[in-house]
Symmetry: C2
Subunit: 285 residues, 2 copies
């Protein structure tokens, strides 16, 4: 291809010098909410002393409202919206961006929120395997009208390192477990409070108990395609999500705004600690 337009980022190879803009990227963090990815950028800048804490971080994807993107030092922070299709568009364009910018040795982490199973709300789950709604570590995609199954394997060493960061911090519980990735937030996650529901509380509890027995500790909506696409691109990838509630005890998010906000900062703290350790180690070597 002569030119490549990264349409949903409002960037392109003929309009932007992607290597100059992104060539030094070593860490990419992605998350659903544009606001959260902006505040994560400011937090990292402050915590790692990477830039003037009063600096403004402009949205690199200005001119589109599909995604938001921020950069500070070697960190790129990108929003991906909700669900597999939304994050998959972003990842196609991000992987092409990293390729055009000739980035090397990149680590990518999804930081997000999730529903927990059998965990105290606020627990951070580092994903061991991303599994589908039948608890299998796979993603089925339809390509040219035919099903293609891809592995959702993540980097085991990176997951262990991130778990260790949780222990280092000691400020909240961090566990490793399987993450179930669904296409729907209500019926797809056995919630009883959607616009429709064709099953009982008992059916719900029995499905969640099966999931727990299969090693599932939390449920979200992006990890499987994230894992599959990063694996195909040889990107070192991890998923770190906080649980906002225990799904065995309810479906609605009744905690206060402040409590939920505090929970949402935990994956950020953990990843900040990881990046700090890596940057210190590379300074020493």
């Amino acid at each position: 291809m002569k030119d490549d337009i990264l349409y949903h980022f409002n960037l392109g190879t003929s309009t932007h010098d992607l290597q100059a803009m992104f060539g030094d990227v070593k860490f990419v963090c992605v998350g659903g909410s544009p606001w959260r990815m902006k505040s994560f950028t400011e937090y990292i800048a402050k915590e790692l002393g990477l830039a003037d804490p009063n600096a403004e971080y402009p949205n690199i994807c200005e001119g589109t409202d599909r995604y938001a993107m921020y950069k500070v030092g070697p960190l790129l922070s990108v929003s991906h919206g909700m669900g597999i299709p939304s994050i998959s568009i972003m990842l196609h364009e991000l992987i092409k961006l990293l390729y055009h910018a000739r980035c090397t040795d990149v680590t990518i982490v999804r930081i997000g929120t999730s529903g927990g199973i059998g965990l105290k709300p606020g627990t951070v789950v580092v994903t061991k395997q991303s599994v589908d709604a039948m608890f299998k570590p796979r993603l089925e995609q339809i390509i040219l009208g035919k099903p293609v199954v891809r592995s959702t394997e993540l980097d085991g060493k990176l997951a262990e390192d991130l778990l260790k960061c949780g222990d280092d911090l000691g400020e909240f519980e961090t566990v490793i477990g399987n993450t179930m990735c669904t296409l729907d937030f209500y019926e797809g996650q056995a919630r009883l409070d959607g616009a429709f529901c064709s099953y009982t509380e008992e059916d719900k509890q029995s499905y969640l108990a099966e999931a727990y027995a299969a090693g599932v500790r939390n449920i979200e909506m992006e990890s499987s395609v994230f894992a599959a696409m990063c694996k195909l691109s040889n990107l070192r990838a991890a998923v770190v999500c906080v649980t906002l509630l225990d799904r065995q005890k309810g479906d609605q998010l009744t905690s206060s705004h402040d409590v939920l906000n505090n929970y949402q900062q935990r994956p950020q703290m953990l990843v900040k600690h990881y990046i700090k350790k890596k940057l210190n180690a590379s300074k020493k070597s």
Copy 2:
């Protein structure tokens, strides 16, 4: 349920008087982009003389960046992000909102963008049937780990009425046809310009030709679950999308910003005309 928290709208039955806020809603328009749904609201206000054209329309979902929502007179305008999971979360909460607000006789239209097949870019497609990647008018969802198949039937009379509005306006081509709804923008739509591609230009062309033969005139990423959920809720529903390019001739969006912007206004113009006719008819009766 005593209280109902519409989490992704930042609204709830115990914190908001939903009937007072939304009881008069008769038309709901939904689309991917929050900016577009805001500008649609301003456009409708101006064109229908429903409010002071200089009035500000605040985002009713302020306090969250998941969705944006605006209201003017009987019109509610809501963004839904990209892909089936993202619009499905929004629709669960919207359907509950309309129920809590005791709205009656509501018409809902998705206005969006799409890739066309065998059509001049800028053509508006009113969806006859929303079909999956195998060209079947169905949506398969996974509920409690088991597949459930739902019909994606839309309101035939509403589609005909909207087609007629395109003829009334006479400013652009409007056709009726099947719309293919996919879970992915790149490989799922046979694009050759994603981060990965395991097929040839010939494979792509043959898949698009099959789709055309099955009556598919455009491809997008939300119509199937929109149709299925509206049907389950007895909401009169239609999908009106403009085609931004002819996929048989390319994959990338190379048209200028101004041209694409002009195209994106066409579904808005068509729906504005429909609402105007309906409001005039109800005044007369």
